[in-house]
């Protein structure tokens, strides 16, 4: 299985499926969806196997070596992201089939046609995310970032008129971020004359152009990842969108821009990222954890609680930088790999569960969902397991991430992250158990308008349980990251070596 197929399939298959889904009718679309899910699952498995056996997999598109041609590369982190993207993508596709099969969320659904357009745009987004994870060229990443941003906007606007203001704000933030990233790329290319990440990393020097580029690119990507204080656009967009779209946005799209932030930080700009800047980023992360959780506590709509929970969980991701910058070896990257995958599965499950509840009850106002644990037990159980994982209860993936983050904090002597993580855990249990308590209430619980469909709860349950048992998959995750080490990322220090 040549590297071209291994690295080409995750990108080209969804794009081809998008074309077929757009050109073909309903009958063709269902077949295309099933074929794509199978194809991507196979591709991800083969890629993981190749990375496990041969380490980093690379392919020069067009046969031209960088810096002339574009390099596609799959190291351990990229493989993990592709696997996450595939798993969550398949679950969301199954959910969307059931979700859009029925009626829309009881709002200005518009002609059936609009929801038929969900599939080509979603497949485009799916392929763009894989392209982003695998690309090794800084301008190519601009194009994938734009593709992800635009498809996100189109998907949000699927929810009809009430989602358009949120889609507009999301588009503006996305455009500002992409253009600042483009400016950064322009300055980097002007200064160093190469466009591939590895080449830029080698040529990097502390010059004004590099500083300007770093500032522009980091701020732009932080805005797209909704890091506090640039988070205001996320909750209305993620909560306003249809449930499968919210799941994809919160679980995958956020991880795309964070992954790019991480790549630039460790591979391209290590020279320009002193410890004090890393601490500043860590502070913003902590602010996100505390501020996001505080706001989540005060929300009355279920999807807004889950959306603000995303703002909080993004904060944990940014704790990577103070804990791993400058360290020869650290477990922080492993922690972030776990957190990214676990949050993706758990958050997607919670948004799908919220979508299922919304279809059953006709609203996602928390007070109206009293007694959901009895009347709509399947989606409620999926939400509960997802909540358990996000809070950080063992054996969830978030628990493993939290354990490693705390270990890294103590190993590097940066003890001030410990109270932040502890407070984050308690606040998360605060705003999530608040919802679960309402689910468990038996007095005065109204029956849902329509019986919750199992086809909607099944993918959510599968993802939630996967996130719950992620700790047991730890050896596989560690193995992939060790066998295909990412350039610039500190080695995994967990080993006895």
């Amino acid at each position: 299985m040549s590297d071209a197929v291994l690295l080409g399939a995750p990108v080209l298959l969804p794009l081809a499926a998008a074309v077929l889904a757009f050109a073909g009718g309903d009958r063709l679309r269902r077949g295309v969806t099933v074929a794509l899910c199978a194809g991507l699952a196979l591709a991800a498995a083969l890629l993981a196997g190749a990375a496990w056996n041969r380490g980093v997999i690379t392919h020069h598109v067009g046969g031209w070596l960088p810096p002339l041609g574009i390099l596609l590369r799959a190291d351990g982190l990229a493989v993990l992201m592709v696997i996450m993207n595939t798993a969550v993508g398949i679950a969301v596709s199954v959910f969307a089939a059931g979700y859009f099969g029925g009626h829309d969320e009881g709002h200005a659904a518009g002609p059936h046609g609009r929801t038929a357009l969900f599939w080509p745009v979603w497949f485009m987004l799916w392929g763009a995310l894989n392209a982003l994870f695998l690309s090794g060229d800084v301008f190519n990443l601009y194009v994938t970032l734009e593709l992800v941003g635009l498809s996100g906007v189109a998907l949000i606007s699927l929810a009809g008129t009430k989602a358009w203001p949120a889609a507009m704000r999301y588009l503006f933030v996305s455009l500002l971020a992409s253009l600042s990233y483009l400016l950064g790329t322009a300055l980097l290319y002007g200064q160093f004359g190469v466009l591939d990440l590895a080449g830029l990393g080698r040529a990097m020097a502390d010059v004004p152009a590099a500083r300007a580029a770093a500032a522009l690119m980091f701020v732009g990507l932080a805005a797209k990842t909704a890091l506090v204080p640039l988070h205001a656009w996320l909750p209305p967009a993620h909560a306003g969108a249809p449930a499968p779209v919210s799941a994809v946005l919160s679980a995958l799209v956020i991880k795309g821009s964070f992954y790019l932030f991480l790549r630039l930080w460790f591979q391209v700009f290590p020279v320009l990222t002193p410890a004090v800047l890393a601490q500043a980023v860590g502070l913003f992360g902590s602010a996100a954890i505390l501020w996001g959780s505080a706001l989540a506590l005060r929300q009355s709509r279920l999807k807004m609680v889950v959306a603000y929970s995303t703002v909080a969980q993004v904060g944990y991701l940014f704790l990577l930088f103070p804990l791993a910058t400058g360290a020869a070896a650290s477990v922080a990257p492993l922690a972030i790999a776990f957190h990214a995958v676990s949050h993706a599965c758990a958050k997607a499950a919670m948004f799908m569960a919220a979508g299922g509840l919304m279809l059953a009850y006709g609203t996602d106002d928390i007070r109206a969902l009293r007694g959901a644990a009895v009347q709509a037990s399947a989606p409620a159980l999926a939400f509960a397991i997802g909540a358990m994982v996000l809070i950080g209860l063992p054996p969830g993936g978030n628990f493993t991430a939290k354990w490693l983050l705390l270990s890294a904090s103590i190993d590097t002597g940066q003890w001030w992250w410990i109270p932040v993580i502890a407070a984050g855990t308690l606040l998360a249990s605060g705003y999530l158990f608040r919802v679960l308590t309402v689910f468990m209430e038996s007095s005065g619980s109204a029956a849902p308008a329509s019986a919750p469909r199992v086809s909607l709860a099944a993918p959510a349950l599968v993802l939630a349980v996967a996130a719950l048992l992620l700790a047991l998959a730890a050896p596989a995750v560690t193995g992939v990251l060790e066998r295909a080490p990412a350039v610039g990322l500190p080695a995994l220090a967990g080993g006895p070596s």
């Binding site: 040549s2 071209a4 080409g8 080209l12 794009l15 081809a16 074309v19 757009f22 050109a23 392919h59 020069h60 598109v61 067009g62 046969g63 031209w64 810096p67 002339l68 041609g69 574009i70 596609l72 518009g110 002609p111 046609g113 609009r114 038929a116 357009l117 080509p120 745009v121 485009m124 763009a128 060229d137 301008f139 190519n140 194009v143 994938t144 734009e146 593709l147 635009l150 498809s151 906007v153 189109a154 606007s157 358009w164 889609a167 600042s180 400016l183 300055l187 290319y189 002007g190 200064q191 160093f192 004359g193 190469v194 010059v207 004004p208 152009a209 500083r211 300007a212 580029a213 522009l216």
Partner: protein, 317 residues
């Protein structure tokens, strides 16, 4: 002042002034017109900077299509808001916001200017690499070589973005598919005469641009923009410009589909994504470009037409 002619100084000054004007005019329509003039001025800048390919693209897409989009959008907006602006927040508040944004933008621009000044004045290493690899690329024009051969993957995703824009506009516009161009009819004698005169020329020009793109400035996108222009004139003039509704999605996605097939095909034939053999590279690229010509033209035309739902005849100006 080596190599700087008066025209450069004029252009370099005119561009920011026009940009500021476009953003400050109270009447949005007049702002849009100034924006189109800005686009053409920037096209001149490209000519001065020896970038003919970009000048073509800027004039056709940057000024032409984007200008048409703005006009179309302004046409659909409710009348009054287009000129006077209902001032809700106090003038002071709006000035404060504008001032803060100005300061922030100033800092960013200063950062960028500082970088521009300190950038080494030597050609990037890539220029020599392209020059050395050009013979194997199968085309004479280095820009087309970079676009379709060396960095063909970028262009593949870029066409994806364009197709996605068509999908996005349809999703927002609540249409089943971009089924038909539809669009408004003007029926004026002037447009009819103009159409008869210019349409054949435009179509030949588009084909010419496609063909010469291999060795001289030109290429698929520039040709597509010209063809889209022709398509718009056809639709406005009331000529039968509609593709059969069922097949419109196929036309829109056709170019992208060909590109994907060629990309995958090259894996089977030459063992690498988009990997062309020097001998046959020219014909594969021509195949891709012709597919892109038709599809991108259709997409650009659809973007202009599907921008708004209403199909009422174009009112007034």
């Amino acid at each position: 002042m080596n190599g700087v002619a008066i025209i450069d100084v004029l252009l370099a000054a005119a561009v920011p002034v026009l940009a500021a004007a476009a953003l400050l005019y109270r009447d949005l329509f007049r702002a849009a017109v100034v924006f189109i003039v800005l686009g053409l001025t920037i096209a001149l800048v490209w000519v001065r900077l020896d970038a003919p390919d970009i000048a073509l693209a800027e004039a056709a897409v940057g000024a032409g299509i984007t200008g048409a989009l703005f006009m179309r959008a302004l046409g659909a907006l409710p009348g009054p808001t287009r000129s006077a602006h209902p001032v809700r927040s106090s003038r002071f508040q709006r000035l404060a916001v504008r001032g803060a944004a100005g300061v922030f933008a100033g800092i960013v621009a200063a950062l960028v200017a500082w970088a521009v000044v300190t950038v080494p004045s030597s050609d990037p290493v890539l220029t020599s690499l392209v020059r050395d690899a050009a013979p194997d690329s199968g085309v004479g024009n280095p820009v087309t070589a970079v676009l379709l051969n060396f960095r063909g993957y970028d262009t593949l995703l870029e066409v994806g973005v364009l197709l996605l824009a068509a999908l996005g506009v349809s999703t927002i516009g609540a249409h089943r598919h971009a089924a038909s161009l539809g669009g408004t009819r003007v029926r004026g004698p002037v447009i009819l005469a103009f159409a008869h005169l210019v349409l054949p020329g435009l179509i030949v020009l588009a084909a010419y641009l496609l063909w010469t793109g291999a060795d001289l400035p030109g290429g698929a996108f520039q040709g597509a923009a010209v063809l889209a222009g022709a398509w718009l004139i056809c639709a406005f003039a009331g000529f039968p410009a509609d593709v059969a509704p069922g097949r419109m999605p196929a036309v829109l996605a056709g170019g992208f589909c060909i590109f994907l097939l060629v990309a995958a095909g090259m894996v089977l034939l030459n063992g690498g994504l988009l990997r062309f053999m020097p001998a046959t590279a020219k014909w594969w690229m021509l195949l891709i470009e012709s597919g892109l010509l038709v599809s991108c033209a259709a997409i650009l035309a659809t973007l202009v037409f599907r921008l708004t739902d209403d199909d009422r005849p174009e009112a007034g100006r």
